[in-house]
């Protein structure tokens, strides 16, 4: 029996890939050997990623917070990803992103940016992930 046959594609072929989240000065100014960079400094508002970690700056929402904001603030007393916030709040990712942007502007939460793939690899990061998986 013969399996169906696929044809390999090459980078840049087909529809243009979406531009990657713009690399920030921090990552770009650093060692060019690094593939994985922290996507942005704390609190920067644009480019909220699914795995940006959000932490409330205070355990109690201020009285001025909307019910949605208050619910979000209560959830992230400990760091929680935007994806998890979306899941627990049953709100679409884009809606949660808007809420977080408001809360960042009001300085009620802190955002910890993910490490994203860039041009060249960072081996120590990969090794840390492998150690973590081995423990599983």
């Amino acid at each position: 029996m013969t399996p169906p046959q696929r044809q390999r594609r090459t980078p840049g072929q087909g529809t243009p890939a979406q531009p990657a989240a713009p690399a920030r000065k921090e990552g770009e100014g650093g060692n060019p050997e690094r593939l994985y960079v922290v996507a942005g400094p704390d609190g920067e508002r644009a480019d909220i990623d699914l795995v940006t970690l959000i932490v409330a700056r205070s355990p109690d929402p201020p009285p001025s917070a909307t019910p949605e904001q208050a619910a979000l603030l209560r959830l992230c007393v400990a760091p929680l990803s935007v994806a998890e916030l979306s899941a627990y709040l049953s709100l679409p990712f884009s809606v949660v992103t808007v809420l977080i942007t408001e809360l960042l502007t009001a300085e009620l939460v802190q955002a910890r940016s993910p490490i994203v793939r860039k041009a060249l690899p960072d081996r120590s990061l990969l090794e840390a992930v492998m150690h973590g998986l081995q423990r599983l």
């Binding site: 029996m1 399996p3 390999r8 980078p11 994985y36 970690l53 760091p79 884009s94 992930v129 492998m130």
Partner: protein, 206 residues
Amino acid sequence: MDFNGSDTIPGPRAEDQLPHTAQSAVKIVIVGGFGVGKTTMVGSVSEIKPLTTEETMTQAGIGVDDNYGSPSKTATTVAMDFGRIRITDELVLYLFGTPGQERFWFLWNGLFEGALGAVVLVDTRRLEVSFDVMGRLEERGVPFVVAVNSFPDAPRYPITDLRSALDLSEMIPIVECDVRRRASSRDVLMTLMRFLHSLAMTGSLT
């Protein structure tokens, strides 16, 4: 959801809370055609109960033209399940079981561009359902490994036959797995990490 009673919105269980030292997260995407076992794999390796994040889009945005010009655009909800593994007190790994249809991928800003890499699941009864996703990853330069989810009644091909059918270069790992088993799914992720590490050593992405 009624947010006025938001005191009661259940969050993570106490034992699932990340420590305050958690500084950053990385992600791996698990992709493949319909029904190849993406959700099962996320569930078997995740340390938390798998969760679902949704995004809503109007039909006009997904390249469906049968409804074109209609005043009532239908909203489509796209769901993606994900799990989490704590790597260290500072680093967290998220796994996303991503819908096979590439037209949905842009919904999640940077999901593929920022992922460390991808696992492409294939089912040998329907190899072709995972073809498109592999091509899309190649186009975007996302490094991936192929995991053959062994369903009992599925044809078994020698890896060399699979490699040539999938038109994959020698360096791309192809492994067999049973995504229902945690150890097996973990081994697939380890294969991906070793592959990424070897790319890091040789300084090339593809």
